[in-house]
Symmetry: C2
Subunit: 342 residues, 2 copies
């Protein structure tokens, strides 16, 4: 039974506030490259790991989140793309590429295979299965089409617009005939939004002393749809600038380092005056649409109608800093960690 070295990223303790690199440890473990007989499991070699903001919730102790917390001392888990090394499961064979929940380590034994989906190695980059064609892409798709109720000609605002979710929301909105403005946190990102991602306008929120004034400038007639990836002060400003019967899809609150927003939202009254609907959602409630999503977005990509920006950190040892960077907006596009290319 072959035993190999296995680099792993471990959570050191439960995290309070924003995660830092010190909360994680890269250690040298071992892995057995054989799936135990009768386990129904797989041993996989992890290729690409996904850095997603929701993972922060799993680093906290027993918060009544929608998924259970990680345990200190254990390997962090997340979405990934991997290659099957050994299989005790009739649905998978050595050499298959799969995407789904895996560990932040070089090799993982996956016994809960329900979340795994086989993927082809083809003209679509493998890493896209944790991005454009993975959870973030599906979040954009389900949130935009199912929660935002978009109509042609709608004025759409997207925050964290060059991120894993936002960049696809903006492109889908453009394809739907909407006018789209994005916000991001650097000049470079603003340029990408306008030059590469086809947004009508974009602005750097860090250069705006008054977010309300910025939104008034970009949406003199108001916002029909706000796809909210950040919460906090931007959400508050957007509420003031929504049109009557505007819709806000609350996707994430990456600006909020804890589960209570210490500044608070002060413009809720706008909901009544303008009959605004604010709706939180999770892509997992829409999984019946996943095949349709894969079809739609793969086609758009192949037809050259959409692109997808990735920020790839090379090597598992750079995983913690890549993950932590999400919360300061260090990444440009979808943050992925490349553990191995093949």
């Amino acid at each position: 039974m072959e035993v190999v070295k296995n680099k792993q990223v471990v959570l050191k303790w439960f995290v309070v506030g924003a995660p830092t690199e010190k909360d994680m440890e890269v250690r040298e473990g071992t892995a057995t490259l054989k799936a135990p007989t009768g386990s129904g499991g797989l041993v996989v070699k992890n290729l690409y790991l996904s850095c997603d903001p929701y993972m922060r919730g799993r680093m906290r102790e027993s918060y009544s989140s929608y998924i259970p917390p990680f345990q200190p001392g254990n390997v962090i888990e997340g979405f990934g793309v991997a290659k099957v090394v050994d299989s005790d499961n009739p649905n998978f064979s050595a050499g298959d590429y799969v995407t789904g929940h895996t560990g932040w380590e070089e090799y993982s034994l996956i016994t809960r295979t329900e979340s795994l989906r086989k993927v082809e190695k083809n003209d679509i980059p493998l890493s896209f299965h944790v991005g454009l064609l993975g959870m973030p892409g599906f979040t954009a798709y389900a949130g935009f089409y199912e929660v935002c109720a978009p109509k042609k000609g709608d004025y759409v605002f997207v925050s964290a617009a060059s991120g894993a979710v936002g960049q696809l929301v903006g492109q889908l909105a453009k394809l739907h005939g909407c006018y789209v403005v994005g916000s991001a946190g650097s000049k470079q990102k603003v340029q990408l939004l306008k030059d590469k991602l086809g947004f009508d306008e974009a602005f750097n929120y860090k250069e705006e002393s008054d977010l309300n004034a910025a939104l008034e400038r970009y949406f003199p007639e108001g916002i029909d749809i706000y796809f909210d990836n950040v919460g906090g002060a931007m959400l508050d400003a957007a509420l003031l600038n929504m049109k009557v019967h505007g819709r806000v899809a609350v996707c994430g609150m990456v600006s909020q380092h804890s589960y209570t927003d210490s500044e608070g939202i002060h413009n809720m009254y706008a909901l009544v005056r303008k009959r605004i609907r604010v709706e939180g959602f999770l892509q997992s409630d829409y999984l019946h649409l996943y095949p349709k999503f894969l079809d739609c977005v793969s086609n758009y990509y192949r037809e050259g109608k959409i692109i997808y920006l990735e920020d790839i950190a090379e090597g598992l040892e750079n995983g913690p800093s890549a993950f932590v960077g999400l919360f300061s907006g260090k990444n440009v596009g979808k943050q992925v960690v490349c553990v191995a290319r093949e």
Copy 2:
């Protein structure tokens, strides 16, 4: 042409913050009891005037509200029930009872008659046409059935539950097969909710040092529907206690003395975790349902399935204090000002 004395309530200046009695003046004016020929208008004798929280918005200067502000020096307007004294309009005759927009004065000349609806003097008290069968009643009906998406067995929480809107929401929810808890601001109101209005439970929010704990106590399994009449801290606590896919209908924010909530809402993250929909609404978006509402609620009332509590201030001179009392919860039930009984 008969000219009579006409007591009037006038706005003295634009109001900042919570309105006080000093912001209004009761003065002695005059009225001509003849509708000008060719005006298409009516002269009415006002019988019952409605005190509604939304009127506060019209006392502020040029806030982009959904209705234009009152003008200082002019008579305050609101919903009322009145008797036609003279008509220059073929649709109305002297002696008709009407309900709609009128002035806070003994006699009004109404030239914009589109908002007026004739009502019968019958077994339903005339004053109910500004309450149970008026805008507050319709707000409860439209908000509950159209915004809350209620299902039999749902756990429903109503704030300001003995008020003009809340008391009907609770009763409709009970008739729909829901479990209903109300909050109010006095022992007397809590008793009325339980003894007269058929709520399953009720509590005095002023006696609760921790609103979150109070809601946890009354909703150990969580809240499906929160019908929010107050905003602020109660909304924040309710967000923490919503069930997955819970719905919040934001009807009013009587707890907020200005349009920005200085304390703020801190639990917006719950929207994502629990996929909560928070929707502001105005009854005026649902006017196509008004005939159905009148039919439904009149029948419930006649069948003894619902009751409606009113707090009637006698005399126009008591109008300002009755109106101001809304914002400290002085009223028990729907606040009405009786100008004259006939």
